[in-house]
Symmetry: C2
Subunit: 382 residues, 2 copies
């Protein structure tokens, strides 16, 4: 079987030849390109074939040309960054098989380019995708910034012993609320952007971005463009992708597909009901069991992702004060049993168990596939 893995470089060290033997046998087998011609780069290997391998060049990870922009673009709510990038990878997997493509952090769009695109259009910045400042300060009179973030992901294939760009995904994060100050260091105001405007402005921006990217990478590779709705800054979940399109070639934007994916907080509130009441009941039953396990209350919160009315995955955080290591072990067992009994089954589920200082002490997880069971882990310390 052909391999691109990090093994190749590791095996150069004669000392480690025996260890490398084991490596080759462990885990699933990647099938990207040919093993003969891996000079210059390696990949991160993979933990399972559902994840992309990433690119290592000369022993270092090939970081994005716009590295760090994500943190800046999402400074108001970092949950958006996680949702944005996980979601972008999920959409990419539908177009670019993890078995055939290697993931590379965006190498075409530099930090400067993305920065210019995200800024307002002006004489100095003709490339700005956000509308020019009309000088007004009123919440509904000013021109809001519609576009909050842009990120590029590259999908590579091996041709003639070299990794070549074979696909690209571009995520565009659209504001639901645009935050601004009327004066420097002043109070923060917000301009609400209607769904119609957001979608329409997003389509316009996507067309421009496609044209500009095509001028850099040519007309032949497929380019996925995915539209993300940013969460407001006080949200306890990140935003979600509402649409994507695949441009097969040239500047034809393709057909927009709606995803109907959205994240919700558990427990639900009146203002923030989840699409399926049964899930809320399940969560509340789980919460009730776990909350009063110790004499001190355990705090249980969750995030769920829905596609239409169907729960796709859930992430739960439990925080409690532990008084001993044995309490952590017992609690973890109990949480796993309670999750099996109460939480919705057949979906990926992550439960973090944190101590009162916020450090993760243990966790419970399932990928939701049949017969995969619940994995529990208590972090060790010597």
């Amino acid at each position: 079987m052909k391999k691109l893995k990090i093994i190749t470089s590791l095996c150069i060290s004669a000392l480690l030849l025996s260890a490398c033997g084991n490596l080759g046998n462990g885990g699933t087998t990647p099938s990207v390109g040919s093993n003969k011609s891996t000079k210059g780069y390696q990949t991160t290997g993979e933990n399972n074939s559902n994840d992309y391998q990433g690119v290592i060049q000369d022993g270092h990870y090939k970081t994005s040309r716009s590295r760090g922009m994500g943190l800046i673009q999402n400074a108001d709510n970092l949950l958006n960054l996680k949702s944005f990038e996980s979601g972008l990878t999920t959409i990419s997997k539908e177009q670019f098989s993890t078995k055939q493509y290697v993931f590379q952090e965006g190498q075409i769009l530099s930090r400067g380019t993305i920065n210019n695109w995200l800024n307002r259009k002006s004489k100095k910045n003709p490339e700005g995708l956000n509308p020019s400042d009309n000088g007004k300060k009123g919440e509904n009179e000013r021109n809001p910034r519609y576009i909050q973030q842009i990120e590029e992901q590259d999908y590579m294939k091996q041709t003639n012993g070299k990794l070549q760009l074979a696909g690209m995904t571009i995520g565009i994060g659209m504001n639901k609320k645009d935050y601004y100050q009327k004066e420097k260091y002043g109070a923060t105001f917000e301009t609400e952007i209607s769904k119609e405007t957001r979608v329409a402005e997003g389509k316009k921006a996507a067309q421009k971005v496609l044209q500009r990217v095509r001028s850099k990478v040519g007309n032949n590779i497929p380019i996925v463009i995915a539209m993300f709705e940013q969460s407001p800054k006080d949200s306890l979940v990140g935003g979600s992708f509402y649409a994507y399109t695949v441009s097969k070639s040239g500047t034809d934007i393709g057909t927009w597909n709606e995803t109907n994916i959205k994240s919700y907080v558990f427990p639900a509130t009146e203002d923030n009901a989840v699409p399926n009441d049964n899930d809320e009941t399940s969560f509340e039953n789980f919460q009730k069991q776990v909350r009063n396990f110790f004499p001190n209350i355990s705090n249980v919160t969750g995030q769920g992702q829905y596609k239409d009315k169907e729960l796709q995955g859930m992430s739960v955080t439990i925080t409690t004060q532990f008084y001993s290591q044995t309490e952590i072990t017992s609690f973890t067992q109990f949480v796993a049993q309670a999750a099996k009994s109460y939480l919705p089954g057949g979906i990926p589920l992550d439960i973090r168990i944190n101590g009162s200082n916020g450090e993760t002490q243990a966790f419970v997880s399932t990928n939701g596939s049949k017969g995969s069971g619940y994995y529990t882990h208590v972090f060790s310390s010597y």
Copy 2:
């Protein structure tokens, strides 16, 4: 097969009968006692048969009668608390099979009792196990406190439908250094305690503790007494158990067994060499690979536990600034590959991958048994 699990109580809810069916099939099967007579208590269930089930009474975990003492006793170095309790459970497993015994947090010794025992002997506190204050302030003139912590673990068996105490483990934590102030709120001084003194004082205390516990629980159950050396407060690893004994019955203390277990920090320093140079080389190679994966440095530290010169387990923490979710995924894959290639194999291994804010973002783990592979997990967020 007979079961004591939480299932029993969960199944009372008719709604959940189907879920309970699955529960019964999932995981390994416990074989503690009879299912017929589980009134009044349940157990936490178990994630695998190598862990004890804990006791739940009326829906709440049966916490220790001295709950909270561990945090106070180990205030100077909380790593001691983890090492102490994990080690105590490990020693107990040799005497009390996880398949036959249920774990219960100590119910015999109250907080007040343990507090009195740990204090100095005085007219007011005749039960104090630490020597009376001789009034002197000099580091080598004063009477140091030899005993820092005491913890009880109960091991239960089911008899006539009731859980009954069938074994007990008592850990006694002995100071290597006793910290003290010469005046209130003054500077901290320390009295060093030699190994000989520590061992001898420990044996004396163990004999007294055994007698006192026997007067409470009778002569018939086996009582394990395990002696722990506390780590100094600036140590980056917890202390370790240096000896234990099993009193089969009565006040016969039994024969002391030395464990030769000790924890070490990686990377080693001149003052703090690990028992096996190869392990240090392995760790440094791993560290070198991981450290420079990103343009920013990743900090890699470890703890290892040795029995004589043989590594028993390792816990590694990697801290780095991530700039994106995709970086976390790629890094986790890489760390798993590097761990397989460089770190010692065949032992339990835990690698935490923390972001710069200290939050655990992902982890890699193996239990070290043949064919068990390396488990990797990136925490999800929606």
